[in-house]
């Protein structure tokens, strides 16, 4: 499938390309998974592991790490602002898109995603290793700030979108959106107190953006899903959300990089904040 018609085709790398460019200079391959031991069972040669919870999130407060910790994380993984990070992972790249989004929060611009992620790489029988790469530490200047205002939305902002009828995209499964279940399918231990969705949100499950092999759908298909069917447009503001922000990172990536929408923000507090919050308005639909 050609990716040339995407708004930013350079952000997607294909498995075949990566297999031939494992030693590409100024490049770091980064694996981020939901399965926390998956990297240790075998990874793309040269890849480092960045853990969404231990590395990117503050360990006490529900928030991301501070800029100085981000600089330290990059430094120990040999990443500088000039390093192109190619993210890949399990679950059709949920967590790699989440890590990419977190890197963007700190202003790191040189980011790419391996189309199809870890599963596609493995299914194609490509090389994996358990050997952890020997990394020469680098110096990453501490970012001046996090770009929370640019690509992240908070509760009050999502509420304002709801009240003003601005586009809100709920990327969870239909059952979660309708409020018939209060957890993600297969994760009953992660429930919330109330089911439903943010009033006015449209339900567009993240999975609609990918093919069977986890690779992204064509630009024509993506435009149909998001622009024709949901009336999103490149210049309009959009807020996406799920439960904790990982599935919505995937949709944020598709909208921002593949369709070129310039004002998309990820509400990472998502339903675990909204569905537990006292007084938060909720809509249910059949």
């Amino acid at each position: 499938m050609s990716t040339s018609s995407y708004a930013h085709p350079e952000v997607l790398v294909e498995t075949s390309w990566l297999a031939d460019h494992l030693q590409e200079p100024n490049t770091r391959i980064v694996e981020s998974n939901e399965d926390i031991l998956l990297y240790d069972t075998g990874h793309i040669p040269g890849a480092v592991h960045i853990d969404w919870r231990a590395d990117l999130q503050d360990q006490l407060v529900r928030d991301y790490i501070t800029p100085d910790k981000f600089a330290a994380l990059c430094g120990r993984n040999g990443i500088t602002p000039a390093t192109t990070c190619i993210f890949y992972g399990d679950k059709s790249n949920w967590w790699s898109c989440y890590a990419l989004w977190a890197f963007r929060l700190f202003g790191h611009t040189k980011v790419k995603v391996l189309n199809g992620g870890r599963d596609k790489w493995i299914k194609e029988g490509r090389a994996i290793t358990r050997e952890k790469p020997s990394i020469q530490p680098a110096t990453y200047p501490v970012p001046a700030k996090r770009l929370d205002a640019e690509i992240r939305a908070f509760y009050e902002e999502a509420l304002a979108f709801s009240k003003s009828g601005k586009p809100l995209i709920d990327v969870r499964s239909p059952g979660e959106f309708k409020g018939t279940i209060t957890h993600m399918p297969e994760y009953p231990q992660e429930g919330v107190l109330r089911g439903g969705h943010i009033p006015g949100a449209k339900g567009v499950p993240w999975k609609l953006a990918v093919n069977e092999d986890g690779s992204f759908k064509s630009v024509t298909e993506l435009k149909k899903i998001y622009e024709e069917d949901c009336s999103l447009s490149p210049e309009k503001e959009t807020v996406v959300y799920c439960r904790i922000g990982e599935r919505s990172s995937h949709t944020w990536f598709a909208l921002t990089y593949l369709l070129g929408h310039k004002k998309v923000r990820n509400y990472d507090g998502s339903w675990t904040e909204w569905g537990n919050k006292v007084g938060a308005p909720i809509e249910r639909s059949s």
């Binding site: 399965d35 926390i36 031991l37 998956l38 919870r53 399918p185 231990q189 992660e190 904790i244």
Partner: protein
């Protein structure tokens, strides 16, 4: 709801990918927590205690390496060709990312042998815990399996790895307890029927 599995054992649920079916089925055989389950006095079986002690002696990196070794070993604990079981419980339910089959054989001495089959999408930590439990619970009676506390899990895995999205580390233990409970219930029923017949 039951039929005969390939080994001749009673299968608890059909092999199905339908979530609704499985949710309905599993609700009937889930194990309720026994009163002593989380009690601090309940000792672990010897083999499991040895594994816990090994992990407790390891640094974080060593724990991870050993968990990977155990995860690699799960194939050894799959049902073998020609093996027969007293009970089979194969299902994909909401608590795990893929199908998990639990197979129970109880020998004439009343000791349990577990075999477990795991679908390809089961998380690595759950795979590791499967191999640990198959080894750690081998030789226990089904009754004693019901009393094994789940508090050993963080002792093995380490606090860092038990978190959101890794809670299925507890899942296989609950499935093993579930199949033991069904085994014991059926045994009890059979004894009652036998006693009634002789009266």
């Amino acid at each position: 709801m039951t039929d005969r599995g390939p080994s001749g054992a009673t299968r608890l649920v059909p092999r199905s990918n339908d979530h609704r079916d499985m949710a309905d089925n599993c609700s009937s055989i889930d194990t309720e927590k026994s009163p002593q389950e989380d009690g601090p006095q309940t000792p672990l079986p010897r083999k499991l205690q040895q594994i816990v002690e090994l992990f407790q002696s390891l640094p974080e990196e060593g724990k991870r390496e050993n968990l990977i070794l155990y995860a690699d070993a799960t194939k050894k604990h799959e049902p073998k060709d020609g093996e027969s079981f007293d009970l089979e419980d194969i299902r994909k339910d909401e608590e795990c990312a893929d199908t998990v089959g639990v197979f129970l054989k109880v020998n004439p001495e009343g000791q349990a042998l577990f075999r477990v089959s795991l679908g390809p999408h089961v998380q690595t930590l759950t795979r590791a815990m499967t191999a640990i439990l198959c080894r750690g619970l081998e030789g226990m009676t089904p009754q004693d399996v019901l009393t094994v506390p789940s508090s050993f899990v963080p002792q093995i895995v380490g606090g860092q790895l038990v978190r959101v999205r890794s809670q299925t580390t507890y899942y296989v233990l609950s499935r093993m307890k579930g199949i033991c409970k069904v085994y014991l219930d059926r045994k009890r029923m059979a004894e009652v029927r036998k006693a009634d017949f002789h009266q």
